[in-house]
Symmetry: C2
Subunit: 391 residues, 2 copies
């Protein structure tokens, strides 16, 4: 979610990787979406790390969060300064050990990093879809991932792993394709957004949609709604941190000044940080994708969509072993929401381990090096791959 | 702060009230501001409720929060549907009993509800100040209030009361004019903004300043930066509520629909609510004032400005009796910040009562009818006015 990660310098990387593409749902057989709309063709950008073993039993699917992409680990070239977004976790000997597992990560449907989304060209009109792109759901994202795993010859996933919106995809996998999912690791996530989470997303969307350059979504080739997207990103960044994390990281420290400036420049470091994050994000991300993906996350409601309003009923469809992880300072998806998931899983006699990790750094904790989290995931995957029961 | 108040229908109102104006600092003797800039003339809009007694010993100053005004209680006419913003607390027999006390409330310096602010006409240029208005501080606001109390013949305040940014003014009064303040009631406030609070304000300011209609602050007579201001207000509204309050008030309930719409309209009630709050706010509030007042709140730092970085040293100047109140679900100015104030007061052997009120409704709790809060304030004022020592 945040790219503000202090990378684990000691880790061994998977090395050079390449983004690949898979296209399916070619007309006249387009993909039918949860909304009832159809979309085709659909291209999914993905990367893989490690090797699929002979009986195709070692595949681990990593699902990314809101602003992530298929580039979970490794680098694109020897001079590439920036490894994938979860390089701290995915690599030889790491939490998700690429010496043992075949790791797949794809850009979500609706994304802007190679998969079909609102910035893609609509083959019918030969223009970018813009706001004519159909509204998609977490379920649609997962069905596109299923098409990809089929294509890769993976019939069963040893694990599906993801944090935040990635965790929603994890749970969707478990109830939509239970026969395919051996184990699942939802991190810092929820079965449905609270009003608070919807509220933040809505304000971020309003910032984009009220930017005159948004032009009802039809801005490609012209000025981008950069101001609105930057504000949206700043709002997001606040929610990914915590009161304590911000106190430690910034406090009331001033930016390059001995005293406040008595103007509307960035006096405080936290102001500079947010402005910088906003400006950087605008360079790499599409505003329409931000709208579509936040809406998909807001719409996600495992209880309503798979359990007639009951989490217990929804998880009755699941067969996976679970490792559920929350973080103490995550106020976007607080621990009580993970506990509710765990309770519903346990009522179904599912094999579930739950860990609330003490962390000051807020929602983004799963993206930040944490030996405890790495060890937890590593141990869990080992026990799953050797068929051990949880003690 | 929020106008979303369920008014105490049972309360007796102070009845019809009138906004009044006091002008001072006429050139060539303008007001010297904390920034070093000068400003004059300065007009302060104010209202009073109740009567000043003969020895002028029953005056209570009420300081408003970010988007409040001088209209704390009563109505402007018999058909006025909306009483003042703290009508639940200020009136005959209420927490601040206007049968006993002479209550003064003024619009802050920099405001847009009658006091001199960025939307006021600069007498030199005959145009609204806009962004040429000097950056003001909580200290400047308080010095303007002091000019007003002098004008009203009030030499000593029985109490200074206020929540949120009003609470900052309360504390500023206590250390700037200790000989004038008999007692002080800071509610849901802090001696200095955390990085989190600055961050929310900065994003709100960015939303305004990146609205093309803001025009570097020079928008008067043209299109207002309504979109930016609406987004700023929506951000504020989220911070005034709480996770639990939003769950109770909205949950995931849909707005006038049986199912989600698969478009970018307001599907959820919380989305409609925020859009409505944003749109309503734009009608009544000036975007530049929002910028100036949030900046003043961010700059406020009692420790730095009055205690060389030490809260204990800052409060060593105070002489007032204190009633400090925080609310359990206030995550903008959490209880730990009130506790830190109380600790610093106690180290100075000040007479301080502290109460953390159990409330689900977040930061805005002080604006919502709460018998416990009313009783606390009423009892405290009575003991102060009769000279009783705190038990």
């Amino acid at each position: 979610m945040s790219e503000y990660i202090e990378h684990d310098k000691s880790g061994v990387s998977v090395g050079l990787v390449e983004k690949q593409f898979f296209t399916f749902a070619e007309p006249p057989n387009p993909m039918k979406l949860d909304s009832g709309a159809v979309l085709g063709p659909v291209t999914i950008a993905y990367e893989t790390y490690g090797r699929l073993n002979e009986d195709a039993s070692n595949a681990v699917l990593v699902a990314h969060a809101l602003t992530g992409d298929s580039h979970a680990a490794g680098c694109y070239s020897k001079t590439d300064p920036k490894p994938g977004w979860w390089d701290i976790m995915v690599g030889p000997g790491k939490g998700i050990d690429t010496n043992k597992y075949f790791v797949i990560c794809s850009n979500v449907l609706g994304g802007c990093m190679g998969s079909t989304g609102p910035s893609s060209v609509n083959p019918t009109t030969k223009k970018p879809y813009g706001a004519s792109f159909p509204v998609i759901t977490i379920g649609d994202m997962v069905r596109a991932q299923k098409a990809l795993t089929d294509h890769l010859g993976v019939k069963r996933l040893l694990a599906v792993v993801g944090g935040s919106m990635g965790g929603m995809q994890v749970m969707e996998w478990c109830v939509r394709y239970p026969e395919m999912v051996t184990s699942a690791i939802p991190l810092a996530t929820t079965t449905r957004h609270s009003a608070l989470a919807i509220a933040f997303n809505e304000v971020a969307r309003q910032a984009i949609m009220t930017d005159p350059n948004w032009s009802s979504g039809d801005y490609y080739g012209g000025n981008k709604p950069a101001m609105g997207l930057a504000v949206a990103r700043m709002i997001g960044h606040i929610t990914y941190l915590s009161d304590e994390a911000m106190r430690q990281k910034f406090g009331r420290r001033l930016q390059d000044k001995a005293a406040v400036s008595f103007d509307f420049g960035a006096d405080f470091q936290v102001e500079s940080y947010l402005r910088h994050q906003g400006a950087k994000f605008v360079e790499r991300f599409d505003a329409n994708t931000f709208l579509y993906i936040t809406k998909a996350a807001d719409y996600f409601d495992l209880e309503a969509q798979h359990g007639n309003g009951s989490a217990v009923e929804a998880f009755s469809k699941a067969r996976a072993r679970f490792l559920v992880v929350s973080f103490t300072s995550d106020w976007l998806y607080p621990t009580y929401q993970s506990r509710a998931m765990v309770t519903a899983m346990k009522k179904n006699a599912l094999d579930v381990s739950f860990c609330e990790i003490e962390a000051d750094c807020g929602h983004d904790a799963f993206l930040i090096p944490n030996p405890r989290l790495s060890a937890l995931i590593k141990g869990f995957l080992e026990s799953v791959s050797t068929g051990q029961q949880h003690p």
